[in-house]
């Protein structure tokens, strides 16, 4: 059922060159899609190709993409976290609560990120400590976290964040380069190194491919997964700080439905939803693809809900297309 198109069963008489592999890899395909959409956008709307509007476009996806980086690692390890949007709501609410007690900007940031970390640790403890399936646990904590926000806030909102707090979601580091965007690029680099250049990253892949074999090889499966849940919570906390700062207020309905958008981003980035394969490059490019699609359609006055048709079709299409092409190729060559 979950058979993916694999290499031909014949043993090749020479190795495929690394350039050729890179050329036909998932990130390259995505990059082509991204460039295509970019060009299409610049023809479709005269307002697209300006530094400021492109900078605005980045705000659409950086917060989600930050979480997607950590989620990618989690999904590679064979787990999933559906509660990230709930964590954003709770972290934002706790920040608002702290604000009422006169906590200033640095304190707010720390509290927001810590709340995320604690929520992530809670998920991790339930999944790894008690051995529960993560998809169900995080459906539960998703309601629990957002539910606590609703209990605290009801139909009210926290407002009046300090001026200096606004920098994180609205500030620019240099010219049109926003703080959010810089943070995203930095995090992407860190996560790239973590997943592709460290032992910890190797362990994630091993666990995702075969948790039993991983355990037999001395990988601390539970501990790695726990750390990944904490990391995802932490990034959700960071996103909560950015989003709260950008909106300047907290409502319990903040970031509703984001979990599905984030997972779409990760899957679009070529991460196998069943675990074991994926790359940070792919996720980063997928973030840009989704950002460009929504922004381009927005410039064309397409309502957000209609955009979701494109995003959904993109998700299914980008996964179905290679499978169909491989089948076609097999049929022709046979």
């Amino acid at each position: 059922m979950t058979e993916l198109p694999s290499k031909s069963r014949n043993i090749p008489d020479r190795l495929v060159s690394p350039i050729k592999t890179a050329l036909f890899s998932w990130p390259t395909l995505l990059l082509a899609v991204a460039i295509f959409i970019f060009i299409l956008n610049s023809f479709a709307s005269p307002y697209f190709l300006s530094a400021w509007s492109l900078s605005d476009a980045t705000f659409n996806f950086t917060e989600k993409a930050l979480i997607a980086l950590a989620m990618a690692l989690l999904i590679v390890s064979g787990e999933i976290d559906l509660s990230v949007a709930g964590i954003i709501a709770l972290a934002s609410t706790i920040m608002g609560l702290a604000l009422q007690f006169g906590v200033d900007t640095p304190g707010l940031v720390v509290i927001g990120i810590l709340t995320g970390l604690v929520c992530g640790a809670f998920n991790g403890a339930l999944v790894t400590g008690l051995g529960l399936p993560s998809i169900v646990v995080t459906i539960g904590t998703m309601s629990l976290f957002r539910g606590i926000s609703f209990i605290i806030l009801g139909d009210q909102a926290f407002k009046g964040y300090p001026e200096s707090f606004a920098f994180f979601g609205q500030g620019y580091v240099w010219w049109v380069i926003s703080f959010e965007f810089v943070l995203f690029l930095l995090s992407a680099a860190i996560f790239y190194v973590l997943l592709h250049r460290t032992n910890f990253g190797r362990h994630i892949f091993v666990i995702g491919n075969n948790p039993v074999a991983a355990r037999f090889s001395g990988v601390r499966v539970e501990r790695v997964k726990f750390v990944l849940f904490c990391l995802t919570g932490l990034m959700a906390g960071v996103a909560a700080v950015l989003l709260t700062s950008r909106l300047g207020s907290t409502r319990p309905s903040i970031a509703t439905g984001w979990e599905l958008g984030i997972i779409t981003m990760v899957v679009l980035g070529g991460v196998n939803i069943l675990g074991g394969t994926g790359s940070i490059q792919g996720v980063v490019i997928a973030a840009f693809v989704m950002g460009l699609v929504t922004f381009g359609l927005g410039l064309l006055n397409v309502p957000g809900i209609v955009m979701s048709i494109f995003i959904g079709a993109l998700l299914i299409g980008v996964i179905a297309l290679p499978i169909l092409l491989t089948r076609l190729h097999d049929r022709v060559s046979r």
């Binding site: 957002r146 069943l274 309502p303 998700l315 499978i323």
Partner: protein, 325 residues
């Protein structure tokens, strides 16, 4: 007796009973038959949806698109009814079911023929269907005054003391019970959930059976689309927004294993009923409705923990104890 205690339906029933008793202590009149029937009626749609979800979950898949399938089918019949009030309502019910079937089959075919994981397929169709509602309705609502009387009444007419809505749920539950426990297809659905490899050797087409499960969940979601629109007398883009996870929650509370192969019709119904009782109990005992979300979240987590306790396998001994020192 001990078999009875291990039966999770009995436990769920006891918990629901305890909930009702506890609520009645605070608010006399909660346990009156009329009120209980009312709760049953209010939970009917969730019960139907939970059954559909159950069929899919048992095959080791998941259908995240049920709520939007419901909303899209509901919008189609709502628009049809508003435009052609003379079309008899039973025909609209069939239309809604058919629309749901088409959407379910679309999910199923992608899972079956392309081998894309169900969670990815339904995540995609979830957003696609929701967007399509906006497109076909042109962004507008279908308001209460646009519906024909029949359209609204066909869930409300009372028969033997129960509204028709409850009867639909009962009928579907009985049909579903027969399908799952008395037909080869039902056995196949369970079999591929327990062990797809063994099922293949036994001559069961795993892909096709999964496809059928998606068709079932799609049909039930589509039919629920009519029920929802008729019950709440509104067709809009926002119908059942976020409800997909409530449906899964009902299944999980009922003890249907997300790993597939485990779950009974009774437990799915009771899982839905549990959520229904909580929803009606909270306002009665003066707990703010804002608590509802957190409580159902906690209930899901608790249910999963309790489920796992019975099923947990002992870890494999890799090294003998003595050798580890």
């Amino acid at each position: 007796m001990s078999r009875l205690l291990k039966n999770r339906e009995i436990w769920l029933l006891l918990v629901i009973g305890a909930l009702v008793v506890a609520t009645t202590l605070r608010a006399p009149g909660f346990a009156q038959p009329a009120n209980l029937l009312d709760i049953f009626n209010n939970t009917s749609i969730l019960m139907i949806l939970a059954l559909g979800q159950m069929a899919v979950i048992i095959t080791r898949s998941i259908d995240l698109s049920m709520a939007t399938n419901l909303a899209l089918s509901g919008m189609i019949v709502a628009l049809t009814n508003a435009a052609f009030p003379d079309i008899p309502v039973p025909f609209l019910m069939v239309l809604a079911t058919f629309c749901g079937l088409v959407m379910g089959a679309f999910n199923g075919i992608l899972v079956w023929k392309l081998g894309i994981p169900a969670i990815v397929v339904t995540l995609g169709t979830l957003t696609i269907f929701r967007g399509l509602i906006f497109v076909i309705a042109g962004g507008s609502w279908v308001n209460a005054d646009k519906f024909s009387t029949d359209f609204v009444q066909y869930t409300r007419i009372e028969f033997l003391g129960l509204p028709l809505l409850s009867w639909y749920a009962i009928t579907i539950a009985v049909m579903f019970f027969v399908l799952m426990t008395r037909t080869p297809m039902g056995r196949a659905i369970y079999a591929i959930g327990v062990n797809p490899t063994a099922s293949t050797y036994a001559g069961i087409n795993v892909g096709r059976t999964t496809f059928v499960a998606f068709c079932i969940s799609g049909m039930l979601a589509g039919f629920s689309g009519y029920l929802w629109v008729s019950r709440y007398v509104i067709g809009s883009v926002e119908v059942a927004n976020g409800y997909e996870l409530t449906i899964i929650a009902a299944c999980v509370i009922g003890g249907i294993s997300i790993a597939g192969g485990v779950g009974t019709v009774g437990s799915a119904l009771l899982g839905a009923l549990f959520l229904g009782v909580i929803n009606s109990a909270l306002p009665v005992i003066n707990i703010s409705p804002f608590w509802q979300m957190a409580i159902s979240g906690a209930a899901i987590i608790l249910a999963v923990i309790l489920n796992a306790r019975g099923q947990k396998q002992k870890g494999r001994l890799i090294l003998k104890k003595g050798n580890t020192q």
